[in-house]
Symmetry: C2
Subunit: 320 residues, 2 copies
DNA sequence: TTGTATGCGTTATCAC
DNA sequence: GTGATAACGCATACAA
């Protein structure tokens, strides 16, 4: 990290640091001769400002920390992080990745190691287990996205109910009369599911069945398929796309027609949903809206931390 | 970014900065009384060292820059970046993301903005168009992964031929006699393909057909399907998994048996390949080996920049 | 138009 | 055991 410094340029141009900065920043108050000479020299020597020194002096930084699930594993987080990265870049910020620390001591270590570099930290899907007060002592600002509430911090919440409501209502309106919900006991999705039945007023009451699962992954979707089909359902909503993919695999093997015999809707808008056979109807996270809100917060944090909520959206494809 | 400083602690403990650092770093030469008092105070005031100042002083940093395809879009880059992130973290480094700049001026801007923060920059899949000499003037070290050669820099190359060779040889050894390669004119993959035919010695010469494509994406795989099947091939190798998925979609729609009627092998080891119907045989990048090599390089850069090469590997699943 | 001097927060040398 | 003090590279108030 050996760099050319202002001092060296000043020495080379036989002038002072002050004049060099003036010339480089194109401020006025420098004679034409000195200016051109300094600019030439700076270019020749390959001067690059040391941002660490600048930030130390200015007490600010354009690096933003991200704490969240491992990119690659969890593709929802990944897409959020990716979208945020794009928008950060457009605004002159750069993301620093911290992964998902195993415990809060490790988290604190990371935040300490970021002090002075990173002024704002974004938390994705982070559930604080025991000590939310730990954030009070740290020098950074914190923005929590889809995470458990921490007093005095900024929050961006995701309304899972809205998209599920629209998806399930779609199932009802297209004549499905026995709908399974397959997943864990997530309040948001459950609410959306139930609300759809409420807003669908019909003389004949459609049936709803809840089949609880634990991991909500591909394997579980596959293994639940038999039970789902045995229930006589003509539609199924999965809490995750991955689970839905497992069901699709089973249906493919047993040559079960989708959506003919049974309609399928997932949740997360996993990019593979466009590629699957059939293409998977799903519920999408408000990814872009979240990133935009984060940028706004970074640019200017409001006085009083508040919670903003963003709706999920139903996306219809072939499977429903 | 207002932080508690050593000065403040020193003032509070009625001592000097030097003694405070000694106590905090658990160096000897501090009386028990002062030490406990300082430690207590530092904890109470919530002292966190300013890493910008430390790095400025020490002229080093534990932030590593990553330049490469947008995470999320390109899942191969994504998985490489993810794996690298894990290993960086284990070694006390943090990745800073720069995305893929549209042109070299933007790239230079990014590298300038990182000066003093980021001492090593990893380039993934970066093709330098015109001015490789630009890297000479920058203060960082550069490691190029699967990228076009830049003089005086460290390179990690990917041998695409090895995995393709093994996959195609597998096709030949399992009795396939007419194999299509579908993709762009990539030298590595082509070599592997041809080498497999060379190393397969049989009296009856198997046929090989090359169908060129441009984008190598899902859509193209789908649209090429008809031509591939019309060629009478009993196996097909796609330059990318995404293209293979397009073919799988077509086959699913037309109820073509895979691998019964035609075997399919892709390239990239896209995670979706484990979930697809049928699960896709593919060629995997040497992701972990690359990350490990990068860590080694970061920890200690050798005197003379050299190029290391890593082999791709065939992964057999249901489709072949 | 130009230069001097100070401080950002840390580390580390050197003297007491 | 302790404490001045000088860097690291940059920005800027304040002379000259």
């Amino acid at each position: 990290m050996a760099q050319v410094t202002l001092k060296q340029i000043a020495k080379g141009a036989d002038t002072s640091i002050r004049t060099v900065t003036r010339a480089l920043k194109r401020q006025n108050g420098v004679s034409k001769i000195k200016r051109t000479e300094i600019l030439r020299l700076a270019n020749e020597m390959g001067y690059v400002p040391n941002i660490a020194a600048r930030n130390l002096r200015l007490r600010k930084s354009n690096f933003v920390g991200i704490i969240g699930g491992d990119i690659g594993r969890e593709s929802v987080f990944l897409r959020k992080a990716n979208d945020l990265q794009q928008k950060l870049k457009q605004n002159g910020y750069y993301p620093v990745l911290g992964g998902l620390p195993k415990n809060e001591d490790l988290l604190k270590d990371i935040l300490r190691e970021w002090a002075g570099f990173v002024s704002t930290v974004i938390f994705y899907n982070y559930s604080i287990s025991n000590s939310p007060e730990m954030f009070a002592g740290l020098p950074q600002h914190f923005i929590f996205v889809d995470a458990s509430p921490v007093a005095g911090c900024y929050h961006l919440d995701i309304n899972r109910a809205s998209g599920v409501h629209d998806g399930v209502l779609h199932l009802l309106q297209t004549g499905r009369r026995c709908i399974v919900r397959c997943g864990s006991v997530d309040v948001g999705r459950k609410d959306g599911f139930d609300q759809a039945f409420d807003s669908f007023s019909q003389s004949e009451k459609p049936r709803r069945i809840h089949l609880p699962t634990v991991k909500c992954n591909f394997k579980e979707g596959y293994s639940m398929a038999e039970k789902i089909l045995a229930s006589g359902a003509d539609a199924v909503f999965f809490d995750t796309d991955r689970m839905a993919f497992g069901f699709l695999k089973y249906a493919w093997e047993k040559r079960i027609e989708i959506p003919g015999q049974i309609a399928v809707i997932g949740f997360d808008d996993d990019p593979w949903g466009k590629l699957s056979c059939p293409a998977l109807s799903t519920v999408a996270h408000p990814i872009e809206e979240l990133s935009e809100a984060i940028i706004t917060l970074i640019e200017q944090l409001p006085e009083n931390p508040a919670t903003l909520t963003f709706d999920t959206k139903f996306i219809r494809r072939e499977s429903a």
